[in-house]
């Protein structure tokens, strides 16, 4: 990388009028999104392919990104879903035995804009103090006023159905670590139907590793169609954005309540909360990282968790018999719920990790046990 940069300059303008200058190391053009930061020091490939980042411009707080390139294995979906990507210093010469391409090539292959040279710590502090903001990231740097106008016109995430942009539109079978055409045959093992709101592959990998038959269905699939698949359990997947506008999924879940064991993760957890009558709200700047301590109320132990959410279920709005199973040690927010009468439980964080620690893997085992208890 020469001292005098040859990449085109890029500009990030936030809705409050503040702006940050950088260079486009990948792609050209202009994107709008909610600007959020992720504090993980590794795992950029997983973040890029995590459908939950739909509608967001992601800032990595770790300054050196691209170090180990991009490989064929660590995909959390088939593509990149976030809108734009901001780092301090992009690394163009990766080193890792699994690396197949550079981050720049990966972003460009998926038509995404990557910008570096920004004081990402300053930007992070801005978001921390002012809250997640709408932003516009552009290689058209001369018209700041125009950019500001466009970002202010952009509606943001609240009230928007982001799921529709990322969830599968056709059902499929997850087998041998990949999507296969769905064929419903006789059951020879526990069958899990995954309501796909933007599912991360690692949830599917975990279920398969537990010898489950994994069927993934679109987010608009009706309850009766799900039940027709004769599932032993239903997984409510993660996904992007605000849960409240996803009323169709909430209705589906409400119709499934009590019928089959249910396990919700992240957006799935929020949708489950809405389905039982609770409400959600938006966090100031959300939790995006791999070091959030979560207290398991039953055991008293702390799990270091992977998190990626901007919305949260409000505990006080839930039915009285809901059991709070996990809370966030840092800010006390709700992290896990159990609905004993409904054979359902859910967590706000990501037991499937990818990226992040394996501390909460046991939840998949819990789901398996729950399914076995109620099977047949």
């Amino acid at each position: 990388m020469p001292l005098k940069r040859t990449d085109p300059p890029a500009l990030l303008v936030l809705e409050d009028g503040s702006s940050y200058h950088g260079y486009a190391f990948a792609g050209r053009g202009e994107v709008l999104g909610e600007v959020v930061f992720n504090t993980g020091m590794a795992g950029y490939q997983e973040c890029l392919t995590d459908p939950s980042y739909k509608g967001q411009i992601l800032v990595m707080t770790y300054p050196l990104i691209g170090n180990y390139g991009v490989n064929d294995d660590d995909m959390e979906s088939a593509g990149i879903h976030l809108e734009g990507y901001i780092v301090k210093e992009y690394q163009d010469q990766p080193s890792n035995w699994r690396s197949r391409r550079t981050l720049k090539d990966f972003l460009e292959a998926h038509g995404r804009l990557g910008v570096d040279g920004i004081d990402t710590r300053s930007l992070t502090k801005k978001i921390r103090t002012a809250g997640a903001m709408r932003g516009i990231l552009s290689t058209n740097v001369d018209d700041k006023a125009g950019l500001l106008e466009r970002v202010r016109a952009y509606p943001g995430l609240v009230g928007q159905d982001m799921v529709a942009h990322v969830a599968s539109t056709t059902p499929y079978l997850w087998k041998d670590g990949a999507a296969q055409p769905l064929r419903v045959g006789p059951k020879d093992r526990l069958r899990v139907v995954v309501l796909d709101c933007g599912v991360k592959y690692n949830i599917l990998r975990h279920l398969e590793a537990l010898s489950c038959e994994v069927m993934v269905v679109p987010s608009r699939t009706a309850a009766k169609d799900i039940l027709a698949l004769e599932p032993d359990g239903i997984m409510l997947s993660n996904g992007p954005g605000d849960p409240e506008p996803i009323t169709y999924a909430v209705e589906t879940i409400r119709a499934l309540l009590g019928k089959k064991p249910i396990f919700g993760i992240c957006l799935g957890h929020q949708l489950l909360g809405l389905a039982v009558g609770g409400r959600t709200s938006k966090l100031k700047f959300g939790h995006h990282g791999v070091n959030q301590p979560v207290k398991n109320i039953a055991t008293g132990r702390i799990e270091i968790s992977s998190q990626n959410h901007g919305f949260v279920v409000l505990t006080e709005t839930l039915p009285k018999d809901t059991v709070v199973t996990h809370t966030n040690l840092n800010d006390g927010t709700l992290e896990g719920l159990a609905y004993p009468g409904l054979k359902a439980f859910s967590v706000q964080y990501h037991p499937e990790a990818s990226p992040g620690p394996f501390d909460a893997n046991y939840l998949f085992q819990d789901f398996l046990t729950l399914m076995k208890t109620h099977a047949g």
């Binding site: 020469p2 020091m41 707080t61 660590d74 690394q91 080193s95 710590r121 070091n291 008293g300 702390i302």
Partner: protein, 1067 residues
């Protein structure tokens, strides 16, 4: 789980003297632990023989024992104090080993003392390699294939089964002493033997070599509830094969994907459980095959380590403090995170910068030793730098090293074939210059792939270095330009380096840069990558957009620290800096610490009001001053490092507190000092100064041999020698003019057989009070940092002492010293000579402070800020009733070929203190504290230089009277016989077998007295001293120290020594 209330009193063991692989980091961890436990209301008992530690300050623990860290001393302390628990995990390997010894001796059971933090079984499981391997296999982790050998035969068998190359690792040693790599049977012969010798249990592990694999370390903490968190991941730039203490290391890991890192994390957690570390911090080392990601576990330490200190400084997470709290029952989720205040210790720090640690070696002190890095650690210190990019951090770290390099500049501008060959060998075989050789090779056109094949260094790191080299080319080719200047600063380029590249001066670059407003901002170290608001004032500089430092309006003072430890400048100076900070707080000033040494207490973020983790160069310090606008800077306490900056700072208009830079110069500049000597009518050994070899010979012949020669402005007696003849002098001049082409060479008449005395004094500008007069045990000519000394003096007549006091006061008054001053005197035939005046804190300040019970550095700080000694209540010299002895500790066992000889060039790494009511016992304790077990009976072997022959009869008689048999080389034996002392003659090595080394090996010798003259002992003396070290036989190399040893042995023979807490000496 709340803290335990069944424990009242907890014993902490320190790590003793600074040695290679155990340095300030254990003062940092121990001091944190003391504070942390006291905060919880526990009574803390501490043992540490190192007086230069903050932890041994009498207010840190309730009962502070400056006693040898041995089973015997610890047993006495336990019997006296009856602690409820022993916390062995904070005092390094020494603390752990000594705890194991007392536990195995049944002492803990006898007195009902519980081991907390790590139990005996846990320690054994982690340290005993067979048990460790078994434990790893049960959790499905691989360790390199290996086998154990307790003899050379077994060593051959085991290595045959594994195949070369193999790694030799002795069981139960410190820092991998005696370890090494064997590429063939010949290497094995040598390495296995050394390893068996080095092992406390005569056992080595022979291990599959994973040389060239990538090396990683994780710092892990676990609590009683089985919560486990990873504090920091560290990736070594130097791959496996180089001791991690000798590796350039980087935090966080750079080249692992998340899943690869998480697998390592999970493995570390499983290891903590399998080994059973109940509470506290541990570190786990992994090796990873860069071709396919295969992971093997190398080792784990069930205690805090050098890496824990690094991880604490790298992340802001105080590992030792938390470890102490966990040991007394808390869980991680109950302990608040000081930095964020709103979160808890139960989380994993995430950082938004890059940290680079570079070791500091001192091979120049041991010219006989090859500059080669292996699995046995050789560096004496380290520096850490923080940057927003790796390149920035690396370049900051390089200039923090203080090795005369301000970047990855040329080793040799002429690219000859010979130089190319040298560069290749510097890259293929790890050594202290490898980083610079890599940059040089890139300039020569080597591609990264071949450099990777030669060095096994990961291509990612090579790419970063290449980017710096490429930038240099671009800078040079393009010439000066503002836009390049701004970009170069972002890559961490020092003004000095830019000046070199652009043919300008550093001042010109700085002036230009300031005019262009290209100045760094300060970013916060906050454990959480800005996710939470941080309250900790811990900063590093970077060329970024936002400045987070909010300079206050309070009056403030900047303290400049000492940078990386090296021989001649270490923990003693950090101790003084920390005390300065305490004093400033007392006086209500804001204290601002600047340092680059991650091992130290001074770089603990809660010592000063503000901490800048920055290189101690003029450029970096001026930036801080520009931002903070302090009322002054303290340069007296950090050793030579800040003193070297004083002139530049003063020139830039920065107020220097205390003694003026001009006074410093008057003391350091030969000619100017001569004027003072003349004016005050003092005596100095005859001396002269020259820049040429011929003149040197003339001078020496004029003033008469022996002469003491050295380059000016060099600390620690670097390259200083006593020379007895012209050929040696000529040879010396060639060597030293090559190493220090710009320095004048000082030639002094050497005062043979003179008594040397160190005086530390404090002055407020009008009154001077002597802190302490220290009489050296060894004669003048041995560096004061290498001599043993006693306070108060034992043989000096009252009128001599008065003379020393008077002269000290006169010099202080003449120099208008405000603060501390150290003078070295020599006394020959009743005449006092001034050897050296240092108007700054000396290495002995902590020792004197402990000996007299006055915090001299704190008092000096207050004096510098205008308080008078009268106001501070120190108007008279303190004459303690007890006796304090300081003894030096040497790294000879680390450098197998080094000449074991004391001389004017300092070579010790650390010191211990013995304190008691008599000289003999205090001296005996000091010897024990260095690791010598003085024999009470047996055979003394004596072999002395001809010059000493007349003085040995009395000495030998003393030992004979104490019941020892005397063994001597033929010449010495004959001389003794003439004097009426019977001695068994023994052959020198050069005289055929069985010779003295055979006798030593056979255990027939309990004490060795072997003196010599000059820098290099004879070959025979060399063999004798090597065996003394190898077989750990106590030895002395001077007549004076031998007499002191006899006295100590006599005391030990006659009475049972006792231990006493510092608090009791000053009751």
């Amino acid at each position: 789980m709340p803290k335990r209330t069944d424990l009242k009193k907890i014993l902490i063991i320190g790590s003793g003297p600074i040695v290679i692989s155990q340095a300030c980091e254990f003062d940092y961890s121990g001091a944190q632990a003391c504070k942390s436990l006291k905060e919880e209301g526990y009574e803390v008992v501490l043992v540490n023989s190192n007086p230069a530690t903050i932890m041994t300050d009498p207010n840190l623990a309730d009962r502070t024992y400056i006693e040898p860290i041995t089973k015997e001393a610890l047993t006495k302390i336990i019997a006296k104090e009856r602690p409820c628990a022993l916390l062995p995990t904070l005092g390094g390997q020494t603390g752990l080993n000594t705890a194991v010894e007392v536990a195995e001796a049944g002492v803990l059971d006898e007195y009902g003392v519980e081991m907390i933090g790590a139990t005996l079984d846990v320690i054994h499981k982690a340290e005993d390699r067979e048990r460790f391997r078994h434990a790893m296999e049960t959790i499905g982790l691989r360790v390199p294939r290996s086998g154990f050998a307790r003899s050379m035969d077994e060593a051959y068998q085991v290595s045959a089964g594994i195949g070369f190359p193999v790694i030799i690792r002795p069981s139960f040693t410190l820092g991998g002493i005696g370890g090494g790599v064997a590429y063939n049977p010949e290497d094995l012969e040598r390495q296995a033997k050394a390893g068996l010798d080095a092992s406390m249990i005569t056992e080595i592990m022979i291990e599959e070599s994973v040389i060239g694999w990538k090396e990683y370390e994780l710092e892990v903490m676990r609590d009683k509830a089985d919560n486990v968190v990873i504090i920091c991941s560290i990736e070594n730039l130097d791959p496996m094969g180089v001791h991690t203490g000798d590796s350039i290391t980087v935090a966080p890991a750079q080249t692992l994907t998340d899943i690869e890192y998480q697998q390592m994390r999970q493995a570390a957690i499983l290891i903590m459980r399998a080994i059973g570390v109940e509470t506290g911090g541990s570190n786990v080392q992994f090796a990873l095959n860069p071709a396919n990601g295969d992971l093997v576990v190398i080792e784990m330490n069930p205690r805090v380590s050098r890496s824990s200190a690094l991880a604490s400084k790298a992340t802001g997470f105080p590992i030792a403090k938390i470890a102490a709290k966990l040991a007394c029952g808390y869980t991680l989720d109950e302990i608040p995170n000081d930095i964020t205040k709103e979160t808890y210790a139960s989380f994993e720090p995430t950082i938004d910068y890059c940290v680079v640690k570079v070791p500091r070696w001192t091979f120049e002190k041991f010219p006989e030793v090859q500059d080669l890095l292996t699995t046995s650690m050789k560096s004496v210190g380290e520096t850490m730098a923080i940057g927003r990019t790796f390149k920035e951090a690396l370049q900051k770290a390089v200039r923090s090293l203080e090795i005369g390099r301000f970047g990855l500049g040329e080793l040799n501008p002429e690219q000859t074939a010979e130089h190319k060959k040298l560069i290749v060998s510097l890259i293929t075989t790890p050594n202290s210059k490898r980083l610079f050789a890599l940059a040089e090779a890139m300039r020569m056109g080597f591609d990264l792939q071949s450099l990777n094949h030669m060095s096994h260094i990961d291509p990612w790191f090579l790419t970063q270095i290449k980017q710096i080299v490429d930038a240099e080319v671009e800078l040079k080719e393009h010439g000066p330009a503002s836009v390049l200047l701004a970009e170069a600063k972002k890559l961490g380029f020092a003004d000095r380096r830019l000046a070199e590249l652009w043919g300008k001066t550093e001042d010109e670059i700085r002036t230009w840069r300031y005019a262009e407003d290209i100045i760094p901002v300060y970013k916060l170290v906050d454990t959480c990558a800005a996710e939470f608001e941080a309250y900790t004032p811990y900063y590093y500089s970077s060329y970024e957009a936002e400045d987070e430092s909010r300079p206050s309006e309070k009056p403030k003072v900047v303290i400049l620290g000492g940078g990386p430890n090296r021989i001649g400048q270490g923990i003693e100076f950090d101790y003084c800096c920390v005390h300065a900070s305490f004093a400033l707080k007392d006086l209500g000033y804001e204290s601002i610490m600047v340092n680059s040494n991650p091992e130290t207490v001074s770089t603990d973020y809660d010592i000063s009001d503000k901490l800048f983790f920055e290189p101690l160069t003029l450029e970096d310090v001026l930036h801080i001053i520009r931002s903070e606008k302090p009322l002054g800077v303290i340069v007296q306490f950090g050793g030579q490092t800040p003193l070297n900056l004083a002139k530049g700072l003063a020139a830039a208009g920065v107020p220097i507190l205390g003694t003026s830079p001009d006074a410093i110069d008057r003391a350091e500049d030969r000619e100017r000092f001569q004027e003072i000597v003349d004016k005050l009518n003092l005596k100095q050994p005859q001396s002269a100064i020259t820049f040429s070899a011929e003149k040197a010979v003339d001078i020496a012949e004029r003033i008469g041999y022996p002469v003491m020669v050295r380059p000016s402005y060099v600390l620690g007696g670097r390259s200083m020698e006593i020379i007895y003849d012209t050929p040696t002098l000529a040879e010396f001049m060639v060597r030293v003019l090559e190493a220090f082409p710009d320095n004048a060479i000082l030639i002094d008449k050497f005062l043979e057989d003179a008594i040397e005395v160190d005086v530390d004094a404090i002055s407020d500008g009008s009154m001077t009070v002597i802190g302490g007069i220290m009489e050296h045990i060894e004669e003048a000519g041995i560096h004061s940092g290498d001599s043993a000394c006693v306070l108060p003096p034992v043989t000096l007549a009252p009128e001599l002492i008065r003379t020393l006091q008077d002269q000290t006061r006169m010099i202080a008054a003449e120099l208008k010293v405000v603060g501390l001053m150290n003078i070295q005197f020599a006394i020959k035939d009743g005449v006092v000579y001034v050897l050296e005046v240092n108007p700054r804190a000396s290495r002995t300040v902590p020792f004197v402070s402990k000996a007299i019970g006055k915090p001299l550095a704190q008092l000096a700080t207050k004096v510098m800020l205008g308080e008078s000694l009268a106001e501070l209540g120190l108007t008279e010299q303190v004459w303690p009733a007890h006796v304090s002895v300081k003894e030096s500790v040497f790294p000879f066992s680390r450098f197998p070929n080094a000449n074991v000889v004391l001389g004017p060039e300092m070579r010790s790494t650390g010191e211990v203190m013995g304190i008691d009511w008599s000289f003999a016992t205090a001296y005996a304790k000091a010897q024990m504290a260095t690791g010598f077990q003085l024999p009470l009976s047996g055979t003394v072997f004596i072999s002395v230089h001809d010059r000493h022959k007349e003085r040995i009869v009395a000495l030998a008689r003393r030992f004979a009277d104490l019941g020892f048999s005397i063994m001597a080389t033929k010449g010495t034996a004959a001389c003794l016989k003439n004097g009426g002392v019977q001695a068994l003659p023994v052959a020198k090595v050069s005289e055929g077998r069985p010779h003295i080394v055979d006798r030593i090996k056979n255990g027939e010798v309990q004490l060795i007295i072997n003196t010599s003259i000059g820098r290099r002992p004879t070959l025979d003396a060399y063999h004798i001293r090597q065996s003394a070290i190898r077989y750990n036989i106590p030895y002395t190399t001077t007549i004076e120290a031998s007499h002191a040893t006899a006295e100590a042995i006599k005391a030990l023979q006659h009475n049972q020594w006792d231990v006493a807490a510092l608090q009791d000496f000053f009751r």
